[in-house]
Symmetry: C2
Subunit: 134 residues, 2 copies
DNA sequence: CTAAAATAGTTGGTGTCACGAACTCAGTCA
DNA sequence: TGACTGAGTTCGTGACACCAACTATTTTAG
């Protein structure tokens, strides 16, 4: 619990340095390697679809993201990251990687490895349990 | 990173079931065994003092928390949890303990133990690094 | 083949959360 | 005593999240 707050604080700070909120960062990260609709996006982020509308609105206004029509389905919309959005998210990701890496550096290499594996197990379990893709 | 989102999601759900936000829960947890002023509370939660004013306002309105005058210092205020607040926070804490325990149950006992110790090390490092009490 | 149901997404209203800047009062110290 | 610091609040703004109601487009059933 405490560690999750710490990680979130770090994420918030690093994202904020690039003018992003944690949620925006998360959304961009999700979209980085996917092209999905609003509803699916809501599912992944565990948000209501109306929340996602606003989220995408704001990100789109900042040029980080784009709504594109889905050929063959006139009511659906796909959200994609723009080049600018991709650049920002990669920047923040690297910063996060660096800072969390430094934090993890407190531990011995073998403990880091064990930690990583344990966390991956937990994530895997949660994801399959909740049927939520990450 | 992903695990922190998962833990936050769980926290949010369980707190929400008792009508609390994650921040409120966190504040109550901090105050559970302490009696501190607004400024210190802000420091622990890593928030601006003006944010804490609102946070305490809302919690006080719900009877979870109380501002009490500090004898011998007429500008300072101490925040305390009410019995109702204490009851709620303990309820949520137990629920969180149960659910995270179940999640951790995925791992063998020895790995759970190692995980716990590693996380404690990281928390400790972060806290001393940032001089933030938890 | 059309009427009803389901689905994707948006809108509008409400409440929470967080921030910064400006402000009030009370204590400090020079 | 008069300037300074510190604790808290107020005010205005914006992001975020939810729910309920709505539009418009499939899909399904009769």
């Amino acid at each position: 619990m405490q560690l999750s707050f710490i990680v979130q604080a770090i994420l918030g700070r690093l994202a904020g340095e690039q003018g992003l909120s944690v949620t925006q960062l998360r959304m961009l990260a999700v979209l980085d390697d996917r092209q999905i609709g609003m509803r699916q996006l809501a599912g992944i982020l565990e948000l209501e679809k109306s929340s996602v509308t606003g989220l995408v609105d704001r990100a789109e206004r900042r040029g980080l993201v784009q709504r594109i029509a889905v050929p063959g389905n006139r009511r659906a919309v796909h959200v994609t990251v723009t080049d600018a959005g991709r650049a920002v998210v990669h920047l923040v990701r690297e910063a996060v990687r660096a800072e969390l890496g430094q934090l993890a550096g407190t531990l011995s290499d073998s403990r880091q490895d064990t930690l990583r594996r344990s966390m991956e197990t937990l994530i895997q379990y949660y994801v399959t349990q909740r049927a939520i893709p990450l």
